[in-house]
Each structure stands twice: as structure tokens, then as C-alpha cells.
């Protein structure tokens, strides 16, 4: 069964350091999402790509977060510098087409900032 691949699964970093997360969506999925999920809360959208174009990054803290999907396939989310409040799970998801029925998540990347 096709899956959304994410790495690393777990990351511990010191405050003010840089950290990056990688995502490879399900093959053929044009839409890619990065969500952040704080413990005890639901996922919140950070950025959404349609192919290589950003369609929604209104909730992305652009002073420290950046995301790219250069060839419209895999994607990288970067945080620099990391802050204590960035400790959360970062989820990547993808969907086949611009439809509203299903998006599929990866296993997530757990970030702890110390």
C-alpha cells in the first residue's frame, strides 16, 4: 500500500538551531500539505502545495519557517532558528487531486526543542 514517507521520525534540537523535515508524498499526488500538531490538539495547516506552487501559506510563520517543493514531488520544511514553542509533531499529507474527500498522512516527525 502506497504511503506518505517522512523523515526523520524523531528530532531533538537545541533552541536557535536549524532543523529540516522531508516528505515524499504518495506517487501521483499533486497536492501536498504540511501540518503542525501540538499535543492534545488537532492538526493545523502550515502550508499547502499544488504541484510546485504554494496555494496557502497564510499560517506559516515566515520569519522562521520555510517550505519548498522544487520539482513538484518531495518537499522540505525548514525551521531556523528553532524555538521552544516549536516542539510538536509535523505531519505531511497528500491527495491525488483537488478534491475534498481524502488526504493521506505520513507517520509524522516529532520535534523536541530543548
Amino acid at each position: 500500500e502506497a504511503e506518505v514517507a517522512q523523515s526523520p521520525r524523531y528530532k531533538i534540537t537545541e533552541k536557535s538551531q536549524a532543523v529540516a523535515f522531508w516528505c515524499d508524498p504518495i506517487s501521483g499526488h499533486a497536492t501536498l500539505y504540511w501540518y503542525r500538531q501540538i499535543l492534545g490538539q488537532g492538526p493545523e495547516l502550515l502550508v499547502q502545495f499544488q504541484d510546485e506552487s504554494v496555494v496557502d501559506d497564510s499560517q506559516l510563520p515566515k520569519d522562521r519557517f520555510s517550505a519548498e517543493r522544487l520539482k513538484g514531488v518531495d518537499s522540505t520544511l525548514k525551521i531556523q532558528p528553532a524555538e521552544l514553542g516549536d516542539s510538536a509533531m509535523y505531519l505531511c499529507a497528500s491527495s491525488f487531486q483537488v478534491s475534498g474527500n481524502t488526504i493521506y498522512f505520513g507517520e509524522g516527525s516529532w520535534l523536541t526543542v530543548v
Binding site: 506518505v4 517522512q6 497536492t31 500539505y33 492534545g40 490538539q41 488537532g42 492538526p43 493545523e44 495547516l45 499547502q48 499544488q50 496555494v55 496557502d56 509533531m89 505531519l91 483537488v98 478534491s99 475534498g100 474527500n101 481524502t102 488526504i103 493521506y104 498522512f105 505520513g106 507517520e107 509524522g108 516529532w110
Partner: protein, 113 residues
Amino acid sequence: QKEVEQDPGPLSVPEGAIVSLNCTYSNSAFQYFMWYRQYSRKGPELLMYTYSSGNKEDGRFTAQVDKSSKYISLFIRDSQPSDSATYLCACARPTSGTYKYIFGTGTRLKVLA
């Protein structure tokens, strides 16, 4: 006010019980409604999605949507300890040529053996 509201629980039930999980939403533009199951430290797993008002059944799971009341439910029959997880509802609405998904906070469910 959040667009999607969900009681965080936790909800504890004995094995074999019928579980009812609920969400309300405020935006009538939502068109698709989904339920995800999330085990601890794992990504959400899609359980069911619905488009129209009414019921949709899949094995022990039934999803129900009432668009007039802006209310969505997930019922789990014959609950098992393996159903212990956090259940997230999600609603999708069209925006700028794509869809935006809004998630509830999740309800923690524990099924006791």
C-alpha cells in the same frame, strides 16, 4: 469560535459498548466530512469520509452527517481495546480552487477489556 468543535474527552467505555463520537461545525461551506483515527505518536489514519447528509457504514463504523444541524458523528459498534486511540473529525471546504481541511481537536477514546 473555531470552525470545527470536538469534545476532547477522554471517553472510557467497556469492551463491546457502542461508542458515539461527535463534532459540530459552523461554516455551511463545508462539503466533505472525514473521520481519522490516530494512535499515540502516529500519523492520522483515514477511517471514513462522507459528502452528503445521511449515514455511511463500513464494518463496525458508521459515519453520520446532518448538514441542517451542522453535526457529524462516528459510531463504533462492538468496541474493542484496539479501538483505543484519538479520533479526529475533519471538514473540507472549497477555497481558491482547492480545498481547505479543518480538523477538530480530537477525542481520546479508551476501551477497557
